[in-house]
Amino acid sequence: MSNLIRGLRGLALTGLAGSFAAHAATPDTVENAYWNLPKGVTDISHEVFNLHMAAFWVCVAIAVVVFGVMFYSVFAHRRSKNPVPATFHHSTTVEIIWTIVPFLILIGLAVPAAGTLIKQYDTRNADMTVKITGYQWKWQYEYVGENVSFFSTLDEKSNEARQLGSGIDPKTVPNYLRNVDNYLVVPVGKKVRFLLTANDVIHGWWVPDLAIKKDAIPGFINEMWTKINEPGVYRGGCTVLCGRDHGFMPIVIEAKSETDYAAWLAAKKGGDAAAPAAEPAAAPTPAAALPAKLEVAAAATTATDAVVDAKPVQLAAADTAAAPAPAAAAAPATKEELIARGEKVYKVNCMACHQATGAGLAPTFPSLIGSAVVAGPIDAQIKQVLNGKNAMPPFARLKDADIAAVVTYTRNSFGNKVGDAASAEQVAKLR
């Protein structure tokens, strides 16, 4: 609780007002917000912050008056001080006053609030558009008109640490629950319009530093916009209860200068199809900023290594064109390799529903232990994973090799002993 003690000391020393302003030197973003809204990095977020503080101080002022009167009365009008109560019980004048005054105060708050709201609703004249789709439990970002699209899921470190009884101390995980495999990247100084929708249930997209939050509703498109003033990485998360892993679908958005953004976009467009194996760390450029990703770059010495070692997060990243990665096809993997790789793919893609133990979550998510599908013909299972079934989403966006790996994994784990293995070619044929 040392933070708390530091915070309380700060409160005592500088007073509430001082400490609210204390972060003026560093950018006031959610990362160093301790007990107040961050000022954020957009004009709108500043306006919102000011409105918030105005409303707060209005409430404090009213509180001082109201509670002042109350405690004075409690003190001065107790029986030992004032044995004979007064008898008045009515006064039209004061009643009118204390109806009108709050009303005026409220108008004072409502007018600027309406102004800000109107600005927030004005999504016209955007420089670019990103379509965001919520899934249980990940986000998909599509750069409209750019043919760039990818998924963004909880990063693997957090994901391991967050398992019940994982034994990993979250404090040792950088940006615990606030990090993803693939960042949403946007340019600074441009008006970016977001179109929000969802695939299964309602989700909510919130990044406090941008002061934007909207619900992602299946079947409908909601709009919002932002224009970020400062380059940087801003974090948020899903805000509408969307099922078991609602707490585990963070949002990370990186604002880059215009040129960096253009480079990123070009790499993103060309990257996946052109040179997949050569630089697995290059495709998800934003990840380079993360210490967690450095080891990947270091490990990527040979093509095979890269394939086997590649974090599942990248597997998901490189899905865009859905072209089977040649490297994967070129390196036939042993069953053991497939199982090892499949476990990683499983953790990222399947575990949310079917659980780490494979036992699933009755009644919606069936157990894979001894499942008839798993024990049955391998092609049928591959097809189900590719195409989905009812509440199970299709996974055609995964690479052939990953699907082969995860299918092999499920058939040979959790006590399942089917013994066979799938190959990437087999998957490619069944697509």
Partner: protein, 295 residues
Amino acid sequence: MATHAAESHSDNRRYFVPDPSVWPFLLTIALGTILYSVSMYLEERHPGPIPFVIGGALFFYIVFTWFRGVALESESGKYSAQVDRTYRMGMSWFIFSEVMFFGAFFGALYYARELSVPWLSGEGSRVLTNEFLWPAFENVWPTNGPAGIGGEFKTISPWHLPLINTLLLLTSSITITFAHHALKEGHRLATILWMWATIALGCVFLYFQVTEYIEAYHELNLTLGSGIYGSTFFMLTGFHGMHVTLGTIMMIAVTGRLMSGHFKPDSHFGFEGVAWYWHFVDVVWLGLFIFVYIL
């Protein structure tokens, strides 16, 4: 002095407080059993029909006994004018709560027609919803939505059976009013006849509605699953039909009481309550006829 009045419940100065009763508790058991077995059935955990049947039988038995008990208390003169007012107010507020229940479904209809369907078709501020998710969907009513859930369907013309049904219900409102006047004037036989006429009209209404449903399902492919149109259509008319059924049963009960000599020209709340209910059902139908069938 009050002490003596304690023994006599017929004293009109005293409000009637019933003796302890086990009916409500049993009614709750019945209700709980029914709902629990339906839940299990819906979740495909087939509990078998037995709990449902037992619960249902108990339910009807208690409702019958309870109402009969109230009728007997009333006939034996235990109720004062104040108790009568209680029933009137109680019934009015009950009907009001029913109005709010229908309000939820009419609200859904309004929302679908004025907001969600136009939005899906790109009107108002939701152009992009249409462009990105449901291109080519147009705002027409009736609709089963952009995905055409339930397949193509035809609707029921308001000017055939529904119009007849409207006339039937309007007539029945008149006949029940005649019955009421007859009762007030002490013409018991006329009252009973008018009541039977009303009941008959109610039954014919129900018969036509069932015919209409059969036609909808078999010939028009209009089902509960026909998107938002089918949903609102069947839920509104279906709940209304259930209320007509209930109203008809209540009228039969009241007529039975009339035939066994219950009610007086100046005191017959049981009768009036049913009449109010019937009028309420009638008014809801008018709403349905206009908003569901015609518009």
